[in-house]
Subunit: 183 residues, 2 copies
């Protein structure tokens, strides 16, 4: 962030009047540029006793397994975003059941919102960002080859029989590649 996107003049980092955080502010038109966390939406598609995972075709963590998820877009609601991402990454048709986890990844400013969803058919296949898409039972999940600690934690929660029965949304916070969780 060096230049104002409205008038192309220099930005400076300062705390605006009536604010408590440092912001990029334009030295000419005074516009303040707020930077806030981005929402990542996705699904845990369930079919019988199995969960659908995607092997990542892109960095970071290329070749490791994850749940279908991606950035929420303007104009959509969280559930629509989760359904769209699940289709884009795995061509999987799902029906949302409940919001399963909300994880803040504080060192990269992401909020992960992962939904428990019913996989409606077996017509899934790899999207452009996936090398492979596959259903896994608890014992088949590649626990040592999961892309992110948050995804591992989410799957662990799901396969905990006690937790499986309720519909409560689990909260937690992570740092990328460094766990710090609460259920």
């Amino acid at each position: 962030m060096k230049f104002c996107s409205d008038c192309a003049h220099d930005l400076e980092l300062k705390i605006p009047k009536d604010d408590t955080f440092l912001r990029y502010c334009c030295t000419n038109c005074n516009r303040v540029f707020y930077q806030n966390p981005a929402v990542v939406v996705g699904c845990m598609p369930i079919y019988e006793d199995k969960v659908l995972l995607c092997k990542r075709a892109i960095e970071p963590k290329k070749g490791l397994w994850t749940l279908p998820a991606g950035f929420m877009e303007n104009g959509e609601c969280v559930e629509e975003g989760a359904i769209r991402e699940t289709f884009e990454e795995a061509y999987a048709n799902v029906e949302i059941e409940s919001l399963f986890t909300v994880f803040s990844v504080t060192n990269v400013n992401y909020v992960y919102m992962l939904f428990k969803a019913k996989l409606l058919d077996l017509n899934f296949k790899s999207g452009v960002e996936s090398l492979e898409v596959k259903l896994f039972s608890k014992d088949e999940i590649p626990w040592d080859n999961l892309a992110f600690a948050s995804i591992k934690h989410c799957l662990n929660l799901y396969f905990n029989e006690e937790i499986k029965q309720d519909n409560k949304t689990r909260l937690g916070s992570f740092k990328l590649d460094k766990d710090k969780t609460k259920n």
Copy 2:
């Protein structure tokens, strides 16, 4: 969005390679500027049978009542953001109990995450963005003077005895000043 914040050259609106959405892209350095929904975090502070509301001191909806909430900041988790905003707007000390509602406000690109929270003491008072801060029982709530449909819906859910008993997170989507909800 007219100029690149990295190199100050002109931006153009186009769909980048391997993307499906229109984005602002720099005509010089090719940086893509993604625009995504912002997270608004807040609390429904509960004390005995009452909820703490704030009368807004700022536009929009100045003079109308709302729950303490505001934009989540980089570096914090959703719960920390909700606690911070509740203190900034009402000097209220709370303990988070559960994530009560997640509402997408699709025409302004906000995701509201409102927590049920225990108000720990009665040392609340108006923050700079509030004209007045007060506890209300169900019958005392100024139902006709609430700032936002999403807040009205959240309070209605809370005072529904059946819903009050469980810990499920309610989802919904709204357009600003135009209802479209689901529980």
